[in-house]
């Protein structure tokens, strides 16, 4: 049976979401960028007015400004992008359960064998129409019989367009395109192919697969199949994407951390955010990992398995701190720190009763953490903080948190603070 695969690609997703939130940005050149002061200043996404000036994704903001003097730079709001991404996937899942995400803003849909689905191109147009009407975003859709060609189709015409690459027309549409447009042909492969004079997808398709195997290994054969429309990689089931292996966060502070107090404040802020994300995703972790890098750029990574699972800031921060103390020799100040949690289980899986249930005294988040989560959800991450974070050096952790969304005004001191470190 001929497969009916759609690839949906949101047009300049981050920038589009910002324009939904701030309609006044629709008519001016704008881009989503990192924070220049912290030297994270690159363009993450831009709207079409900015693109007209030649602004490119991933270039430095100062370069973009030279091309486009009036460029409006908006800071990234990843929580908004995740929110819209979830809405989009909910919409796709109304058509099929075989929905394979490829990042936040792209995905494949397999409509093969779905009853009453009809012409996949009509479904593509309907999805575009609904995304526009319900979420005020635009997307491009490729319709084809393989994942690779569907992806090629969604890149073919932008914005807000449907491109059909069929068995009848793929030679006319796909083969003249540069070989670099093919998924999985990166810069290195492209250079290698150019050396044997392969510059278009059609030229790749015309090669002998045996020769490509010798030249590029098994990937050569896979690319050859991709170019000929014979690759049969399946669209994964939507549920299979849901396994999260680890949740972590790291930071390079604006000034180096000079002592354990500095490190503790950073670890606490990182752990607070990691624990919050675990709770939001209903996960608990059994392994706590840290990595640290000194100002000499040498780093180490260590981990510890707990005998219980946790989603609590306290547990994560204290374990991370003891790992740090046991392993850092203070030959130089600390430049970057990361806290990561792994061996995750969903709180659903935690339903399995254990003989050691009595040992698991910590049944997930404390009441105070649940309240903190709710306050933060409503008023933003800085609405409520630990006392130690109020007096924290802003060169380490700004306002005691690492996230971007600021706002709010109150704070709380948590009872039961350990004596050796201030909370």
């Amino acid at each position: 049976m001929e497969r009916k695969i759609l690839h949906v690609d949101q047009n300049c997703f981050f920038a589009s979401v910002e324009m939904v939130k701030h309609p006044e940005l629709r008519d001016v050149p704008m881009a989503v960028g990192g924070d220049e002061e912290k030297r994270h200043g690159i363009i993450l996404a831009k709207n079409r007015h900015a693109a007209a000036f030649g602004v490119k994704t991933a270039e430095a903001i100062w370069q973009a400004r030279q091309k486009c003097p009036g460029l409006v730079i908006v800071p990234a709001h990843h929580e908004h992008y995740s929110f819209y991404s979830e809405k989009l996937f909910d919409l796709y899942c109304q058509y099929t359960d075989r929905v394979e995400p490829y990042g936040l803003d792209e995905c494949w849909l397999d409509l093969t064998g779905i009853a009453g689905i009809g012409d996949p191109a009509q479904v593509a147009d309907e999805i575009r129409e609904r995304v526009r009407r319900e979420l005020h975003l635009t997307c491009s859709v490729g319709v084809s019989f393989t994942k690779i060609f569907a992806k090629l189709g969604s890149d073919y015409k932008k914005p807000d367009a449907t491109t059909i690459i069929s068995r009848e027309n793929f030679r006319q549409i796909a083969w003249p395109l540069p070989v670099g447009d093919l998924l999985f042909v990166g810069r290195a492969t492209q250079q290698k192919l150019a050396r044997i004079n392969i510059r278009t997808i059609g030229a790749l398709a015309a090669m002998s697969p045996d020769y490509l195997r010798d030249y590029l290994g098994i990937n050569g054969v896979k690319l050859w199949m991709s170019a000929n429309g014979t690759d049969d990689s399946p669209v994964a089931h939507f549920m299979s994407r849901r396994t999260i292996k680890s949740v972590g966060n790291s930071t390079t502070t604006a000034r180096d951390m000079m002592n354990e107090g500095d490190v503790w404040q950073t670890i606490l802020a990182l752990s607070d955010q990691v624990a919050g994300r675990l709770r939001k995703k209903s996960l608990r972790a059994q392994t706590i990992q840290i990595w640290a890098r000194g100002s000499d750029l040498h780093g180490f990574e260590r981990q510890k398995h707990l005998s219980y699972r946790t989603d609590r800031t306290d547990d994560i921060a204290k374990t991370a701190m003891s790992l740090f103390r046991e392993n850092y020799t203070w030959a130089c100040p600390v430049r970057s720190l990361g806290v990561r949690t792994a061996r995750l289980v969903t709180t659903d899986e935690e339903r399995q009763r254990s003989i050691f249930d009595a040992d698991y005294k910590r049944e997930g988040a404390t009441e105070i953490e649940t309240v903190i989560d709710r306050i933060r959800m409503q008023f933003g991450d800085v609405a409520i903080r630990r006392g130690v974070q109020l007096v924290c050096d802003s060169k380490l952790i700004e306002n005691g948190v690492l996230a971007q969304n600021r706002g709010g005004f109150s704070s709380v001191r948590e009872p039961g603070a350990p004596s050796e470190l201030s909370w």
């Binding site: 359960d97 549920m239 289980v345 969903t346 659903d348 339903r351 399995q352 009763r353 254990s354 003989i355």
Partner: protein, 368 residues
């Protein structure tokens, strides 16, 4: 060293000792098999990964004493592919091993046996004699519940208890418990120790001959299983084993009689729609009346509902389980009819024989 032997016997001995040869060791000599030949004691092959050691005797016609260590993987593959049944092994003074069979002659570099670690002697040992088949079954019936979670090392093995009359083996992985008890005789030594799961797993694959005897020797730190032909030595796990008797409920609120085969196949059918990596979706057991147990499961793939005949006494309950835990236990139970004892919808459930105490499989449910 020089001896002649049968290719098939040699192959057999190699595959036995290979179970204890480490695959990724930091010491190259541990990737090898120690071959020792002496006219008085015969030929002996040894594999040892510093935790489990296995020795196998080999019938051979010995011409000259000696010993050498040879890479296990290579040796095994060579012997498997030898053209004829009769093999001659000979080492020269530079430890090159010549393996001669039919018209083919391999010359392989060996290592000196001097660097090979000694398998510990099991001294001041107590001993129990068992039938090989009995121990093999007891291993099979408990080993699946041995924990692999390294944060509780004592649970990484089977607890072996001899009370003077019977032998009992217990395994616990935190979510379930498996217990097998076998009456052996009288006047046996009283002893208890924890054997690493890995050693038992290998032993289970080596033991055969239902009617052949096996001697178990145990000392403070080690256990030796001796079949006469094969000796398996393992270190013991040190530490206090969990008080498993406290976990096993004395009685339950609900007692159910059921055919183990009928229950097994129904739960296996239910597990077809529960993806193995999905530990969230349970199989649900409900009791609409005292004669019927409803087994049901529901996932993204679909649903199953099945009724099986049972006989229930006591409170009727509604409970969720990981089907894997039931399947593992039911597969190794040999009794046609069993008793399942429940303790409410959140309490443990125990699979037991209708009479006696030869086995007990405790399974904990999923919280509602």
């Amino acid at each position: 060293m020089k001896f002649m032997c049968s290719r098939d016997r040699l192959n057999e001995a190699i595959s036995i000792v290979q179970k204890a040869v480490s695959t990724r060791s930091t010491l190259p000599i541990l990737d090898g098999i120690l071959i020792e030949a002496s006219v008085s004691e015969g030929v002996k092959l040894t594999g040892y990964d510093l935790e489990t050691g296995i020795e196998a005797k080999l019938e051979a016609d010995i011409k000259a004493d000696g010993s050498v260590v040879i890479n296990s993987k290579l040796f095994g593959e060579i012997v498997r592919k030898l053209p004829e049944e009769f093999v001659t092994l000979e080492t020269d003074d530079r430890l090159t091993i010549n393996i001669e069979c039919g018209s083919s002659v391999f010359s392989i570099k060996g290592l000196s046996s001097e660097g090979y670690p000694k398998i510990p002697e099991v001294q001041d040992a107590q001993k129990v004699i068992l039938m090989q088949g009995v121990l093999r079954d007891m291993i099979r019936q408990t080993i699946f519940a041995v924990s692999t979670d390294e944060s509780r090392p004592t649970l990484n093995g089977c607890f072996f208890i001899c009370d003077g009359f019977s032998v009992e083996m217990v395994a616990i992985d935190g979510f379930r418990l498996a217990l097998r008890k076998q009456a052996i005789g009288s006047d046996l030594p009283v002893m208890k120790f924890i054997v690493p799961g890995k050693a038992l797993h290998e032993a289970g694959r080596i033991l055969d001959g239902k009617d052949a005897e096996l001697v178990i020797y145990s000392s403070q730190n080690h256990i030796l299983l001796d079949t006469g032909k094969v000796r398996i030595v393992s270190r013991l796990i040190q530490g206090e084993y969990m008080n498993y008797k406290a976990i096993l409920p004395k009685s339950g609120d609900t007692t159910m009689l059921v055919s183990s085969a009928v229950m097994l196949s129904a739960i296996e059918r239910a597990s077809l729609i529960i993806l193995s990596e999905d530990r969230r979706s349970p199989v649900q057991l409900t009791m609409p009346n005292d004669e019927v147990l409803v087994i049901s499961a529901s996932t993204e793939l679909g649903t199953l509902r099945e009724e099986i005949p049972v006989s229930i006494r006591g409170e009727r309950i509604d409970i969720d389980f990981n089907p894997r835990y039931f399947i593992d236990a039911l597969r190794v139970i040999e009794d046609e009819e069993i008793t399942i004892q429940f303790s409410g919808s959140n309490g443990p459930c125990v699979l037991k024989p209708t009479e006696g105490d030869d086995f007990a499989y405790l399974v904990l449910p999923l919280r509602r």
